[in-house]
Symmetry: C2
Subunit: 351 residues, 2 copies
């Protein structure tokens, strides 16, 4: 951690948070009979995807995870179309028993067709946690699962009681969470926004958190995850603001407890920021900036976008500012890989 004369708040890098998990991953790897194998699928000529693929390679090499990058489409042949062959590459990796995890470098075709591809990846190999089944579990606060249930296309008919402990009950494993939202939670735990004195599953109680972006990949799962952990979340999208909370007010809301409920909010963005202990921004635009003047003094600001969504003087108001969390995200991905390798073993035993 470092403080600079230019600002009051701390500029927090992702490295110390990522490193703690790297040590945990290394210890777990040492106990495995073979290193897990991750396949990356690069199907476009986009520079950020190429960069992220190289970054994955380095992280895997450093930890001793086997990484194989498959290039297809414009990534393999400049005369081929962007995304050509990507679905076939995913299916091949699904069917290859030596592969434990699959990650695909998005965006490829645009949100709709990319969403289709995310369902083609077998949930048993989905290190990114983008499969519908994982989103369904997240939205319904289902934290533990029987891994063989991932083979069923039918959602669970009855919801389990809320988790009161961090450890999965016998016969179950932890559900996979999407990497980026999970990385944000891990950062907030490190920073102390999550209060360890409170019971598991409710450690963000008392905190108000604004999440700017409501995509299915980042913003909405993050809002749900934080609300399931007890926070009052203000979810800001381009055309509406909603409140996510698991503390019901009406009788109808009480029916769905302990799942979070979502209500339209009458607050403006400025009013949201004025009361928020944490602001997470994930707007895919270099032009978009959260106004420092609108922030609550002493808040925590986390930039999840590839571009900088906060103004240069953000630390004039923020007590902690994280400009990027990418290294935590990739670490969560590798943690998911280890978990899926275990799922595979459990599934093989029972099938």
């Amino acid at each position: 951690m470092s403080t600079e004369a230019s600002g009051k708040g701390i500029l927090l890098k992702a490295d110390p948070i990522a490193n703690a998990f790297r040590d945990e991953i290394k210890a777990a790897l040492a106990e495995r009979p073979r290193p897990p194998k991750l396949v990356g699928i690069l199907a476009t000529s986009a520079a950020p995807s190429k960069f992220y693929a190289d970054f994955t390679q380095k992280q895997c090499d450093a930890l001793g995870v086997e990484f194989v990058l498959k290039r297809t489409g414009a990534a393999a042949d400049p005369s081929a179309g962007e995304g050509d062959g990507v679905e076939e590459a995913i299916i091949e990796a699904n069917e290859d028993n030596s592969v434990d995890g699959i990650m695909v470098y998005y965006p490829i075709f645009g949100v709709q067709q990319d969403h289709y591809l995310q369902q083609v990846v077998s949930p048993l190999k989905d290190v990114e946690g983008l499969h519908f089944k994982f989103h369904y579990n997240l939205y319904h606060n289902i934290r533990f699962l029987d891994p063989t249930s991932l083979l069923s296309s039918v959602p669970p008919t009855s919801l389990p009681p809320p988790a009161v402990e961090d450890q999965p009950p016998a016969g179950t494993v932890k559900s996979i969470l999407p990497c980026t939202p999970l990385a944000v939670v891990k950062c907030l735990e490190h920073i102390g926004v999550y209060n360890r004195i409170l019971p598991y599953g409710d450690r963000a109680y008392g905190k108000t958190i604004t999440v700017i972006n409501r995509s299915e990949v980042v913003g909405r799962p993050l809002a749900a995850l934080l609300a399931n952990d007890g926070a009052r979340v203000l979810s800001v999208d381009i055309d509406s603001i909603q409140e996510y909370t698991k503390r019901p007010v009406t009788e109808a809301e009480r029916r769905f407890h302990p799942r979070h409920v979502v209500r339209p909010s009458s607050l403006s963005l400025q009013e949201c920021l004025a009361i928020s202990d944490v602001v997470v921004s994930a707007v895919p635009s270099a032009e978009y900036k959260v106004k420092t003047a609108w922030l609550k003094d002493g808040c925590v600001c986390i930039n999840v976008a590839a571009d900088k969504n906060f103004e240069a003087d953000v630390r004039e108001k923020a007590s902690v500012y994280m400009p990027t969390i990418g290294r935590v995200t990739i670490t969560m991905l590798l943690r998911n890989l280890l978990r899926l390798q275990q799922y595979g073993e459990v599934s093989k035993q029972t099938s």
Copy 2:
């Protein structure tokens, strides 16, 4: 059919096409021990959704299908949020054994979150054919399936040979196709664009078809469906034009035959229209118009959008113009309902 002095081409209404299928549905219903039950879920205050729900009710009443409309969110209570409770209503209908089919009136939250909801609907009750499993089958030209395979979240590991007959082999049933793309195919069969002299599965061979729109709900499945039936399809989106065909040229493409392949196209929209025997437009905008001047003389034009995507003088060039296919679409939905009712019986027998 009618010709008017104002235009050369025929203005073709959806009714005669829908009526032929209505008779088929009535005959099938007469043989069922009980009428199938369809649940409609209306969660917004949008007038077109309300209109479509009323339309579904009328069609079901006329045919003897049991229809129950569930209202939630802003459709039930003007003070509630748009879409409130819709996911819970879907889950309730999934779990209700008396329900054979579920249709949800979209749009609700926007394409991404709506796509999530489409996966919440059980594939065994998905009359709209929007579940990932049905899209996967469509994109891979898998026409028949063992209905119990719908219960598995894992895509089939090996692709069956291409279908050479219209009838499913023993132990299998026809896969569900999304209603709107299927309705377009039925219209093209009626008009004679599909050539009955050609073998099943290749009856659109020789035809060039432009499809304007590449959404996951209409344009992309339609392009794939037509290409799987042998057509050369030019798929036009706001920022690119692609060609869908199942006639491979390169060695790489041959690997994926008899699935269609997709290539970037260097043609402009004007060049596409100049060579197209059929133009299907599904652009959700009242401003968007296909230029009559660009059409090939004698082509077939089908408007799938709620707004009119063709100019008023379209029949100066088109030999056949269908301004709307809504009645065929709802008929396909009810046909899917009958099929799903049968799936349910097969699944109950085997589970």
